[in-house]
Structure formats: structure tokens, C-alpha cells
Symmetry: none
Subunit: 224 residues, 2 copies
Amino acid sequence: MTFVLAVDDDPAILRTLSINLRARGYDVETAGDGRSALQIIDERMPDVVILDLGLPDLDGVAVLKRLRVYTQVPVVVLSARHESDDKVEALDEGADDYVTKPFDMEELLARVRAAIRRSGGDDAPWVVESGDVRLDVRERQATRAGADVRLTPTEWHIVEVLARREGRLVRQGELLHEVWGPAYDRETNYLRVYLAQIRRKLEQDPSRPTMFITDPGIGYRLVV
Amino acid sequence: MTFVLAVDDDPAILRTLSINLRARGYDVETAGDGRSALQIIDERMPDVVILDLGLPDLDGVAVLKRLRVYTQVPVVVLSARHESDDKVEALDEGADDYVTKPFDMEELLARVRAAIRRSGGDDAPWVVESGDVRLDVRERQATRAGADVRLTPTEWHIVEVLARREGRLVRQGELLHEVWGPAYDRETNYLRVYLAQIRRKLEQDPSRPTMFITDPGIGYRLVV
DNA sequence: GCGGACGTTGACGCGTTCTTGACGGGCGGG
DNA sequence: CCCGCCCGTCAAGAACGCGTCAACGTCCGC
């Protein structure tokens, strides 16, 4: 499993990052300051680091400098500052990419995936194929009979969770929890609506699903 | 690293648990009440939860119920109460094991290890096999001669209870209590109907059951 | 501001599942 | 031999979950 370290001084942002990354199947650890970030890197090298530049102790750039001494781990820098100085400095010091706060989660995730891919790290392309349908979770690309299929962010999120556990049962509560958050544990309505949309886009015969299977009363599973 | 969440309202106990678990190489987080426990589970799914039943806000059983909506994480329940009510209720709600305070640390650790092992760390399917029939309780998948067999939620519930005590007798009252709740202790009708359905789906010769055996007047057992 | 894409909700029909009552047969005791 | 108990079987109505549709709100790009 790909291991991601997220570093930010704002616990709310760490929490958001954590939830979204975990929902995509990453193993996540967080750090609130530069010192603990370096310690974690020292103990257990991540596959990618998400690094905020504004930290209470060491400056983000300082952290970057120090870790670049001994590792090439890809680093995606995160910052509230709009001045290009930091950006330039960070990229000079070996950052791989740069996202400005407030950031779009999907964009950040895309850049994280890209950074991991470039590093050639955990490079097993994350693909599920069934019949003429191909789902590339990492690239967020779905094709059917060679043609691109457009999925909305929420649709992707569901497909991702199911694809990550391909063939295995995912309970309704789990899906809701991962995609919509803990407050939606019982809104099975959403699942019905979205599974229908996904099937309409991906299944041969949407009324007779062969990939996105319902386990009545329990949950769903993606069968290949 | 295995991540353990310990939930108790007594800081001294949390401290003891923390020290002992960390000494064994676990990654430990603690919570003093139900709300923060659920929040931690939400943010970072533990590999095992140690849960005290007496909490200041939510009852331990309430916490258990809520987290069972969306996750199968193993839970070892901890309680100062000696009444078996809580114990039964907690186990009914999906707790994996139970330790009574004051507890022996080695015993607790052994139970935690066992819970982790049973959960398979990642995926050891909880399966019962007999002849050409295979029951995977975790994944809720039943196959017979390789072909999928569809069981309804209630049917699964019964199969699950019997499978968990594979080979041993389960009294009618226990089955009714676990599947339909305490108010149905005498509705043995239900059992007859459902056992017949289960046998029809899983037994070679439903009128001559070899797996789902009746002990007349007492209960049922699952024989492999 | 206008239109489209997307997410959220509520309603409805349909098939499945659950519940409930009734019936018959095997077995043991009176 | 008859009776009662308990189990397996069946059937029918009720309740429930799911798929589907349509309407609405919001956000964003044009």
C-alpha cells in the first residue's frame, strides 16, 4: 500500500487530507510540525510527502532541504502564500509539484498520483478490466470499448472504493462513510441513485448489472 | 505497524494500556469518551479497538453499534460490570471478545492479538467448508459446487450464528434472541421456516440435512 | 445572467423478503 | 391404539429494499 505523509499545522486540513487519501486506499500518517515530519520520514520512508510551507517550527523549505539530503521521495508542496518566491524556492530545493491553498481536493489528489507515478515508486497501474470496460483508478480514466467514459467526481469516488476491494463486499455504511462522510451512514438513497448512474455509464445492460453487483440489504461489490 | 485504539474514561487505565501496547510495538491512540473514539475511527481506521463499556457520554454498546454500521474492525470489549447482560449485548452487537476489569494485562494482550489474527490483519476469510459448500461469513458469500448461492439477510444472520459456533449446539432461544431480538424467544416457527429455506439452498438433500442438524426440542448445529 | 453539469431529495412501482397461520407426519407416552 | 408434541412444509399477505425518474438547488464557465 502506498504510504503518504501529510504535513500541515492546521489539524482541520490534516483531517480532510487524511480522510480523502484513505478513501483512495493510501496509508496515511500526519505531522503537525517540521520536526515530527522529519522523524516520521526517518522512521518509515513515505512514498510521497504532502508538505505545507507554513509550519510552527521549521519552515517548510527547511524541511524540504533537510530531507533532500538523504532521499528523493517526491514532495508536493502546499501553501497559503501566493508569493511566487516560496514556490520558486521550494521547486529549487527539489519539490516535485506545488498546490496553492485553498486547494481543490481532486486537483491535489491528481498531483499526488502524478508525483508517485513519476517517482516510479509503487507503480503497479491500478486497473480493473471487465469485458470491454477498463477502469484506471490511478489515472482516473474509464473507457468502454476503447471510448472514454466520463464519470463525475462522486461517481469516481464510489468506483474507487469498490475497485480497491475488487470482488469483495463493501457494506452500504462503509461506502456512505467513505464517500459522503460519517453523517450519511443511513442515506442509502444516495447509493441507489449513484449506482444507477454508474451502471448506466458502464454496464452493458444497466438493468442487469454484471460488474456492479448489489447484495440486497448489505452492500455492493465490483465483480470482474 | 498495527494501529490500536484504546477507549476508556479512566486516564490511568489508558496510560497503562498505552505503555504496554507500545512496548509490544503497536501504534496506539487513546480516547476518553465515545465521541472522540468515533472521530478517531473516522479519521484513521484502527486495526483493533479496545473499548470500555462505561463511558461518560455514549454507552460503549452505542459506540459499538455505530461503528459496526460501516466497519468490521475487531473490537475487544472491556468492562467493570459483572452482569452478563452487557457482555451478551456487546457480543450481539459484534464485539469480538470480552475482558472483565480488573484484567490481567497479559490476558488482554493475548485477546488483542487473537482479535487481530482472526480479523486476518488484512484478509483471512472466515470460512466454513463442507463438501462442495463454502460459507465465507466475512464476505457474505456462499458457494455450492463453485456456483454462487444467494442468501437473504436473515438467512445469513442464522448461518453466521451457527458458523461462529461450528459443530456446537445453539439453542433455539439463543438463535431467536440473536437474530430477531429478545422479544421473539418463543417464536420457534421462524426457525423452522428459515432453516428449511437455508437447507433448500445449501443441502444436497434438504429433507435429509447433513450440515444444518436439528436437535429436537433443543436447537440446531452446523456440522462440517 | 444564462445554461449546463452535478449533487441532493422525494416519490413511486416492483420484486424480494419477512411474517404469520395452517396442515401433515414422525415419534414417544399414556 | 390414540393423543400430543414438535418439526418440516407450504402459501398468502404485509413490509421492505431497490431501481428508476423527475424536480430542485448550486456552482461554475461562458
